[in-house]
Amino acid sequence: MSLFEKLGNQVIRMISGFAGTIAFSGKVFLRIFQRKTYSSAMREVLVNQIYFTAVQILPLFLLVSILFGSLFIGIVFSLLKELGLTQFIGHILMGLIVTELSPFLTVLLITLRSSAAINTEMAVMKVNREIRTLEIFRIDIIDYLVMPRIINGIISIVLLSSLFSIVLLASGNLFSRVMFGMSTDVYSNLLLNSTDFSDIVIALLKCAVYGFFITLIPIRFGLRASRELTSIPVVVSQGMVNVFAAILMIEVLSLLTKLL
């Protein structure tokens, strides 16, 4: 096989893989709005997934958001003070920290913890022929396995990202009081003046899209595992690389949306 053939083969595989993921995404997305998706079994799995993804991680998540958020805001504020750009505190907080940083850090944390777990879980189920068994029992794999995890991803990322933003804004209030002697009224007024509803809506939508893809891609790659145990690490690493690529793509798309 020549070099060009190899390259072409890879590009075709990449495009077909991307198209397959998009097609799978469309199929799953439509299922979200179907009532029959939300069976009692699915709801039970959904509750468990939310528990493992968001509730169990909550103390660690809050700790990280308080520590990291406070440090980050302290650095940004001292930089603004040095540059004499204190009037842009609101814009920096809302435009950079709340709408960009919070979703990004949240999705990174959840990806590292949950996406890898979902990817491995799916691959192991595939290797152990649990998926095949469920199919034999005519249990819809998408309804029972995929949908709870994807809806969990959407809910968890949206809520945790909002929580992260609220913690950051609270520490921003504290830092603005300490560093600039700014009262809470002035601080909230600054935030209100520099906030656009469209930015908030875009940030929430971005979180939902993140949540959708950081669960969908690991599921899809996990289901690609063969019957051999050695295929598990391969599909997990492929899935995680694709998840990170998807995160970057979504970030770029959201920035483009803002620019336009």
Partner: protein, 317 residues
């Protein structure tokens, strides 16, 4: 009591959703989403610098934003601003609107109302927006500075031209300096360079040597004088010196004079007493004189008596 997994998940979702909803509601109220809005129309000859969503400020506070912009049939740009009900009181019939474009930061429309008691602005009124452009102002301010900089550059150029000219003042000065330094290098000393006569320099050197000897002698004499002065000082002011002895003698003389004064007083007293005694002598003498006179008289009488008698004998009592 153990809380069930469902309960924990439900609590997490509800509490976080409530927090999120409260934050969004606060934002909505703060942004005036539920508030009655008033729309005013402004005009401008150019739409340059205006954007939809641009803030409208009054006294540094945001009171509204630009809702829409459109071009009228007359080619004038109409800018519709949206002001919430709670801020509409700042917009009066005499309000002026200025588009402010700072060098750094977003452009905004600044509302200035000189008389807040003037009637509210009629929505049909279309005031024109004045434009203040920091960039153009800055350029206008920089232009004279740039002219000065150009002049300075011209001067620098003429200076460098003068410096590079071989017949220029600086080059001539440098040539002279070179000659001086060469001359200095060929002479043994600065004095030789100044006098230009080697004999005179030698004479000057001899004089200087003699001056040195004289100075040494003077120093020696001065040291002797110093020693003598020291000795004299010791002899006059020392513990065994003249001055302390004179002081002792003087003190002794003063004591003796004091004693003499008492003696003189006694003499005076004696003299006075003698004077008084002399008076007594006078009285005694007068008494004696009187006695002598009496005796003389007696003698005379006796003589008279004796001379008259035949027998010059007589019997004394």
């Amino acid at each position: 009591m153990t809380v069930s997994r469902e309960c924990k998940v439900g609590l997490f979702i509800v509490s976080t959703a409530v927090l999120l909803a409260a934050a969004l509601l606060y934002l909505a109220v703060g942004k005036g989403v539920f508030e009655k809005m008033h729309t005013f129309t402004l005009s401008s000859r150019s739409g340059d610098g205006f954007t939809e969503g641009m803030p409208v400020d009054f006294s540094g506070f945001n009171i509204g934003k630009v809702q829409a912009m459109e071009l009228s049939d007359k080619g004038i740009v109409l800018i519709k601003i949206k002001i919430p009900d709670r801020h509409v009181k700042w917009i009066r019939s005499d309000s002026t609107f200025v588009l402010y474009r700072p060098l750094i930061g977003a452009a905004r429309i600044i509302v200035t109302t000189s008389d807040l008691n003037s009637p509210p602005m009629n929505p049909e009124q279309v005031p024109e927006v004045a434009i203040v452009n920091d960039i153009n102002d800055a350029i206008a301010r920089i232009e004279p500075v740039l002219d000065q900089v150009t002049q300075i550059a011209d001067h620098v150029e003429s200076l460098t031209r003068a410096l590079s000219d071989p017949q220029g003042n600086l080059n001539q000065t440098l040539g002279n300096a070179e000659k001086i330094t060469a001359n200095l290098a060929s002479k043994k000393s600065l004095v030789e360079m100044a006098i230009s006569d080697e004999e005179s320099v030698k004479a000057l050197n001899e004089s200087l040597k003699q001056l040195k000897e004289i100075t040494t002698n003077v120093n020696r004499i001065l040291s002797k004088v110093d020693k003598m002065a020291d000795k004299t000082d010791r002899e006059i002011y020392g513990t065994e010196g003249t001055l302390p002895q004179v002081n002792v003698i003087l003190k002794d003389v003063i004591g003796k004079l004091q004693k003499l004064e008492k003696t003189i007083d006694n003499i005076n007293k004696i003299s006075t007493d003698a004077s008084e005694g002399m008076k007594d002598f006078h009285l005694l003498r007068s008494d004696i004189d009187d006695v002598v006179v009496s005796l003389d008289n007696v003698v005379k009488k006796l003589d008279a008596i004796v001379g008259s008698k035949k027998d010059p004998e007589f019997k004394v009592p």
